[in-house]
């Protein structure tokens, strides 16, 4: 089974718009939205919810005020400053359980933490696995792993051999979780200094986890000099540029109409994305 994950380092470079078009172009696939923090892919694919699951992950300390003698030991030993005034700030608690083990009157217990939900939906492009991380929750990496795992299971049971994932921005926990073990990463960047800086870092992560990468320069004409710089950088790194997509308002228009670009228009941008998808399928096959 092949799995393509679309990443960018920097946010807002056009990952989701591109994945939406891949959804329309690829024949037989499962779609996975691994940006569990701020999922947007569903806005393009009009999913029909089939299955909904709660996601529990990790623990959080809870202090029983009846038993608490306010000795303050927990506050002293907590490395995450999660206890103040004998109450636990759930958003700071990392669930290590240290406090619950040393509390003299045993007033602290560890409770399972509700961390979000994940869904399986039907779209006219194929099944979509997506999720919603609870507000301010940690463990986004585990929720991403859940989404990927479910996508894989779906693909296996339905005899599908391709998964297309929309990844999160950044280089941390959820990105690593989206990337590790994938067949190919498509890195969508833009010719801005921020875009270049972030591309270099996310390419480093791909290398760290030995996942081959292709680069797509989106909005390539907003700064030709920077685009040139990216081309030179990728050449030095031995990373292939799979597409240069010029800036076009059609991308936003398509988003406003809730449609993948390749279904909304057949002009230049759509054509570039079609070419890009051909390139990716070629790379996966090769």
């Amino acid at each position: 089974m092949k799995e393509v994950v679309v990443l960018s380092g920097k946010g807002g470079t056009g990952k989701t718009s591109i994945v939406g078009s891949f959804a329309a172009l690829a024949k037989n696939k499962v779609l996975a939205d691994c940006d569990v923090d701020a999922a947007d892919l569903h806005l393009l694919l009009n999913p029909e919810l089939k299955d909904e699951h709660d996601f529990w992950s990790g623990e959080v300390a809870v202090i029983d005020p009846e038993k608490c003698t306010q000795c303050g030991l927990c506050q002293e030993i907590c490395r995450f400053s999660a206890i103040d005034n004998y109450t636990v700030d759930a958003s700071s608690c990392e669930g290590c359980g240290f406090c619950s083990r040393i509390c003299p009157p045993e007033a602290i217990t560890m409770k399972e933490r509700y961390s979000g939900q994940w869904f399986i939906s039907a779209t006219r492009y194929g099944p979509l696995v997506h999720a919603r991380l609870g507000i301010g929750q940690e463990n986004s990496g585990k929720l991403v792993a859940t989404v990927r795992q479910q996508a894989k299971q779906l693909a296996e049971t339905q005899g599908i051999d391709l998964i297309i994932s929309d990844g999160p921005p950044g280089i941390g926990c959820p990105v690593i979780s989206s990337l590790s073990g994938a067949s190919l990463a498509l890195l969508v960047t833009e010719p801005t200094l921020s875009g270049i800086h972030d591309l270099e870092r996310v390419l480093g992560v791909c290398r760290h986890f030995s996942v081959p990468a292709l680069v797509c320069v989106n909005k390539s004409d907003i700064n030709e000099e920077n685009t040139h710089h990216i081309e030179k950088y990728c050449l030095e790194q031995g990373t292939e540029i799979a597409a240069r997509i010029p800036f076009d308002n059609t991308v936003t228009e398509a988003m406003i109409h809730g449609k993948p670009i390749v279904e909304y228009s057949h002009n230049g941008v759509a054509h570039h994305i079609e070419k890009l998808w051909e390139k990716i399928t070629g790379t996966l096959a090769g």
């Binding site: 946010g11 701020a38 040393i102 929750q137 986004s140 280089i171 870092r201």
Partner: protein, 288 residues
């Protein structure tokens, strides 16, 4: 005042707003900018600070003295992350899984565990003209951003204006960055993705009880659903920046609005004034 600049969706212009605001406040008291997007820090590209110091971010991970250790297994039992395994004659540690909570070393009956630092990132500080600057960088391949963010925030001054450039999203790195802020400026764009992610960001700020206001970036081209949402939720739109190729070009070269289009400075000063009023009013009637 601590003012965070955040957004649900990435690439809406957080860093451009944070740096332009910082530069526009020149001559109006002490200003410090903390770039807490430690996965992809970009503020330095715009501010071009002179870096005067740096420090590694170290996670305290266990080091087991194999001679003192009796293989009782207590450490493995107490580690919520399974970063230590004890079996037979073996003690294995997995430093990359360790969160540095300290439970194993504290609870080891033989006191056989000491802690050693494992570098997960770096923080750097300096200044750009009159602006004090600090940022953090998570090492490539590292998963946990919050310890690096905490270290950046430790560098915050205790007075003046502190502007925090937060990472995108709504998960733990965002919460870690904006926690303790007096106000959060949410930067969005008038698109379905922008609106969807703005709603998530607003919910996050509500949860944290941080008042927020909106900067609507790249406005004028698409629908007015963001405005409608803000009206419904009673969240003020404090600044509107039009979709403009000139701004996009400046941004691509790492130039702020305050420098590239100085006429914007006044707008940012006004923005700051509005935020100050909201924070001031809230501090006077905290029950509201």
């Amino acid at each position: 005042m601590i003012l965070s600049v955040a957004s649900g969706k990435g690439g809406t212009g957080k860093t451009l707003i944070a740096t332009s605001l910082a530069l526009s406040l020149k001559g109006r008291g002490k200003v410090q900018l903390l770039d807490c997007d430690v996965e992809e820090p970009n503020a330095h590209i715009f501010l071009k600070p002179v870096i005067s110091g740096s420090e590694e971010v170290l996670i305290p991970v266990p080091h087991v003295d194999e001679n003192t250790c009796t293989r009782c297994g207590k450490c493995a039992e107490v580690c919520a992350y399974h970063a230590i395994a004890v079996f037979g004659e073996y003690v294995l540690t997995f430093p990359e899984l360790c969160h540095g909570c300290g439970a194993c070393s504290y609870l080891c009956p033989e006191k056989a565990i000491s802690e050693e630092g494992r570098e997960s990132g770096i923080v750097e500080w300096g200044h750009s003209d009159t602006i004090e600057f600090a940022h953090g960088r998570l090492n490539i391949g590292e998963a946990m951003a919050p310890p690096v963010i905490r270290k950046v925030k430790e560098l915050a001054h205790d007075n003046g204006t502190i502007i925090i450039d937060a990472p995108p999203g709504t998960s733990c790195p965002v919460v870690e960055s904006v926690r303790g802020s007096d106000f959060c400026l949410l930067v969005t764009e008038p698109t379905p993705f922008g609106l969807n992610d703005l709603e998530l960001a607003v919910e996050t700020m509500k949860e944290l009880d941080i008042p927020c206001g909106i900067v609507l970036n790249r406005a004028g081209f698409s629908d007015d659903k963001v405005e409608a949402y803000c009206r419904k939720e009673n969240i003020p739109i404090l600044l509107t920046i039009p979709l403009d190729t000139e701004i996009a070009r400046l941004y691509s070269r790492g130039v702020t609005l305050a420098e590239g289009l100085p006429e914007w400075r006044e707008g940012f000063v006004e923005l700051y004034g509005k935020i100050w009023e909201i924070v001031d009013e809230r501090s006077r009637c905290p029950q509201r």
